[in-house]
Assembly symmetry: none
Homo-oligomer: 216 residues x 4
């Protein structure tokens, strides 16, 4: 692999600082986690967006959260067709191997993936309709949300509605995985749907009785 | 979505503490990031493992890293076949929309995904060969590494060799994405291959001149 | 003291969150508690086990519970022999200085201390018989319970029987403290024996009329 | 045991609320903790005082902290004399069985035990000198601190100095336990000394380089 470059110095320096402080202070724990294996209580499915930082927000340290991050925090439906499904592999590992007790799906405001989906469905982004667009094909998972949010007053409202609906779509798709459904029904796994306003830091949690997201 | 549960109280309390401190201290910045959009310098592809915490290790705060996390930090080859490819969508978004300058692939020791791949290839885990195994099908990406590490003295050596080879496979696969190759060739994007020993906190970076991983 | 280390950063951050929220909201009360002294209504004697969290379970806030926690929530018999008796000191302080009105002894399922006592008495853990084993010498307090539970059908049944009997032994030992007996007889202090199933969260309370533990 | 009373209704009601909410929301995790056993990262030795609530302050949930609480958070010196040493048993269990990675000793302001020790040493509390005084005999562990804080300007200063010195005495005594010393020297265990101002909520951590407590 001739194209790999050395790591930028500012990252090397920060890493060395981390190793001399945070790592040094927790050496024993990290060794035990390495030897005995991880036992995370929680899986988080969150967006790749650089403004969403779930372990900071929930003050989670090494060993607590098993985290999958993809564009828009989406879960595709269960489709054991022999293809390479990274999200589904992460879910299978977390639920069947690690047996996590909680699974959080975390959407957020100003999501670029959701905006792309909106524009694609509105006919404003024909390039996303192309077969070669991985973003477009990934956001296909969310097409139903475009129709389900038709009544929104403004585009901003519709985007927020789609961001929240995406969390529900992912939770619904999670329930199509037989081991997720079985674990939820056996009360061995609890699902949680969250949406974060990245400007104000407000987090809302889906309340299934009220049928809407409510600030925590 | 009737299966969503309220967030456990301990996470709500930790979140409220974060909001009153870390968020409150950075309100202005988070608002700007929301209004003007993210502009991350770096994309990171890392493992879901709860013991690998790249933003802590590199002291990255909101806005710096666009992070995709999947099992074993793998990148599949470029395959614009119309399917839902989450990893490829994240790469396309980071490189073509966000135009990140650096892309880090971060493997690690004691990786459960790599162990699964090893066992599958060694005939020890027939269940991973089944079509319905998302983990197995995801780890298919890494089958060549099993053969390439045949000479290892012990199983532990081979696992570490596979963990490091997986980083190179991912970097090679990245170069099959036309926009990644173009950006690398135009020197607009630099690729970096890392491997972290989770027990000791040592990070090694692939040195393409030396042809091996070297501690940073 | 050259061996003290800085507090891990994740605990510092969580603390700062607590200070900015829970503490800030209760500043006046905590100041009064500091100036006027504590006046807890209840003493709790509970196990050190990380899975037993009595103040959470009874929703107790600062100032309510005076809590002593030791291995297996044991109370040794009254023995004013001039030695360092931490449990007895805590009881003396709670009953004679603070004059608590209630005293709860809280045992629980899957108790490692009780299991150790069982194995020691069954001849399966000779290392616990050694003079240097503090765990063994501490669990000596409970040896009578091993004999008293002989009739149990299975080991699991016997362990649960010992866990519950341990609560009764502790209550009996409490009555050997002259000020405890005097306060109980004057109806200034009520004793309560509890056992918690940590898996299911069921709490049982000893009913002295029925002569057995009953779910509350 | 005829002296056990039913639990007061207000506690029963709070418990039922906890079971229907916090427990119900975490059922799966508590079951796993019960089946697979606890694996706490941290042991805490803290005071029985009702105003000191370490798990709240550090936002720790079930499974995180193994907690021993006694009067003044004291650790006696290693003394394997065959007696019932509850504190030593808890330390032995945490370090040799659970292999915790961190051990926090947490002192605090306005500590009644420390005040008793001060008064006893100053000749103001002859009743604490009696052989039958468990509080006095327990606080004997701290007599050296009275002498070491002679230079304090006021009684309030001296009490605070004794409270902080008590933390150091406990850390020193911890190092007399052979397995504690071995684990510290092998960097498998880190010790931390803390003192909390209960009025203001300020926490100070002993800084062994500076040789004094510093606010975190």
């Amino acid at each position: 692999m001739k194209d790999a470059r050395p790591l930028p110095q500012y990252l090397v320096q920060r890493y060395q600082g981390w190793k001399a402080t945070a790592h040094a202070e927790n050496k024993a724990w990290f060794r035990r986690l390495a030897e005995e294996g991880q036992r995370p209580r929680t899986m988080v499915i969150s967006c790749c967006d650089s403004r969403v930082h779930v372990s900071a927000m929930f003050r989670a340290d090494g060993g607590e959260f098993f985290i999958h991050r993809n564009i828009a925090a989406l879960v595709p439906p269960y489709a054991p067709d022999g293809g390479n499904h990274g999200t589904s592999a992460a879910i299978e590992y977390a639920v069947t191997v690690l047996k996590v007790a909680n699974l959080l799906v975390v959407g957020h405001s100003r999501c670029g993936g959701i905006k792309g989906c909106h524009d694609m469905c509105a006919g404003l982004a024909p390039e996303l309709e192309e077969k070669t667009s991985f973003i477009g094909r990934w956001m296909d998972i969310l097409r139903p949300s475009y129709d389900r949010t038709e009544g929104a007053a403004t585009e901003a409202d519709r985007l927020e509605a789609m961001e929240k609906d995406a969390v529900l779509v992912s939770l619904e798709n999670l329930m199509t995985f037989p081991y997720v459904r079985a674990a939820v029904e056996a009360e061995e796994l609890a699902l949680h749907g969250l949406w974060k306003d990245i400007a104000e830091g407000v987090v809302e949690c889906y309340d299934s009785e009220a049928g809407r997201f409510v600030a925590i």
